[in-house]
């Protein structure tokens, strides 16, 4: 058990350091944990993302708490939540101490120029993998031959069509998905 706590702390510490650009940036890290350690299933992962979206608080914190809780109970949730914020806490204190020097962050913005597209690519690869798994009934990445789940494809098209409209309304998208799930099954 102790080993599991350490491993959780280590993985979420890494997430806190490398997840750049908004709450969803933590997602590729969770997906990686799923495929590496099998702490939870991909279905549980998407449930966690959905719940994190509709509960108050930063999405990244919500996902850390939920993953920790699913994997190792209350202590697990404390471990993951504190892990994801420990590195940023130290960075923030240091940055504030050298604030005036840091303000000229030219070289840093050059680095971020490369990190944002990478972060974007990480996220879309997860989106595509999850989509593939959902519409083909498979649990592994890219397995062949496949059988298509036409209900899933239909629901996906219904939800994705009002693309720009769904942007700021995650709650509505989730409710529509839930309704669609009940109707189509």
């Amino acid at each position: 058990m102790l080993k599991l706590y350490f491993l959780l702390y280590y993985e979420f510490l890494k997430t806190g350091i490398f997840a750049i650009g908004g709450g969803y940036a933590a997602l590729p890290f969770l997906y990686y944990m799923q495929s590496t350690y099998n702490w939870f299933t991909t279905d549980e992962l998407t449930n966690m993302i959905a719940v994190s979206n509709i509960t108050p608080g930063p999405i990244g914190i919500n996902m850390a708490t939920y993953t920790g809780y699913t994997t190792a109970g209350i202590i697990g949730s404390i471990v993951c939540t504190s892990a994801i914020e420990s590195a940023p806490f130290v960075f923030s204190i240091i940055i504030m101490k050298i604030y005036d020097k840091f303000k000229a962050c030219q070289s840093i913005s050059a680095i971020f120029n490369g990190l944002r597209p990478a972060s974007c690519a990480l996220l879309i690869s997860i989106g595509l993998k999850l989509l593939y798994q959902t519409i083909t009934y498979t649990k592994q990445e890219w397995s062949f031959p496949v059988q298509f789940d036409y209900r899933a494809i239909l629901l996906f098209i219904i939800l994705i069509l009002p693309f720009s409209f769904v942007k700021k309304r995650p709650l509505l998208v989730i409710l529509m998905g839930a309704a669609g799930g009940i109707i189509l099954n």
Partner: protein, 183 residues
């Protein structure tokens, strides 16, 4: 600002945390209302500076900007109170919801609903990507980087930390070669 107690900082950030629904960007108007306008703990310029800074430092944006603001008010302990305040509502809500869900996951209706919600989540991911794409992929270098990373990720299973590190390296090399122009 010696007269502000840590408890007060914790309380204000707790109240902000409760109202924080859907992503880091929502926090800016909340901080402006509670910290700049109602309490004058920060100036508006400081808040905007911290917001920019919180996006180019590691970690969750909402967490980062809270720690900067908390530090400004009362040093390291202020930053700690602020981050604990922001985390607490989120932590409690998740624990409650996770427990509620545990009790109903065997229910057929809930299972059907979650089957649909799974597709909603994929839609939300793709919409987020679309937004990120507009802000981040806008030059030859970023196009090349984006598609290289995407193709590699679709074929191999690599730790995201390594992807981020290598991309940072590529960005540094690129800015060295172009001399910072076009960055």
């Amino acid at each position: 600002m010696k007269n502000i107690t840590l408890w007060e900082i914790y309380k204000i950030f707790f109240i902000i945390g409760i109202q924080l629904l859907g992503g880091g960007y929502v926090i800016l108007p909340l901080l402006r209302k509670y910290i700049v306008e109602e309490r004058q703990w920060l100036s508006d310029e400081e808040l905007v500076d911290y917001f920019a800074l919180s996006q180019c430092t590691p970690g969750i944006i909402a967490g980062n900007i809270s720690m900067f603001a908390g530090y400004k008010v009362k040093g390291t302990l202020g930053a700690l109170s602020a981050i604990l305040g922001i985390i607490s509502p989120s932590f409690l809500c998740i624990l409650i919801l996770a427990n509620l869900l545990k009790g109903v996951t065997d229910n057929q209706f809930v299972q059907k609903a979650f089957w649909g919600i799974r597709i909603s989540v994929i839609v939300l991911i793709l919409v987020t990507v679309k937004d990120m794409w507009k802000k981040s992929v806008n030059s030859i270098f970023t196009y090349i980087l984006f598609f290289t990373v995407l193709i590699v990720l679709l074929i191999f299973s690599i730790s995201p930390a390594i992807v981020i590190l290598l991309s940072a390296l590529a960005a540094i090399l690129h800015s060295k070669i172009t001399g910072g122009k076009n960055a």
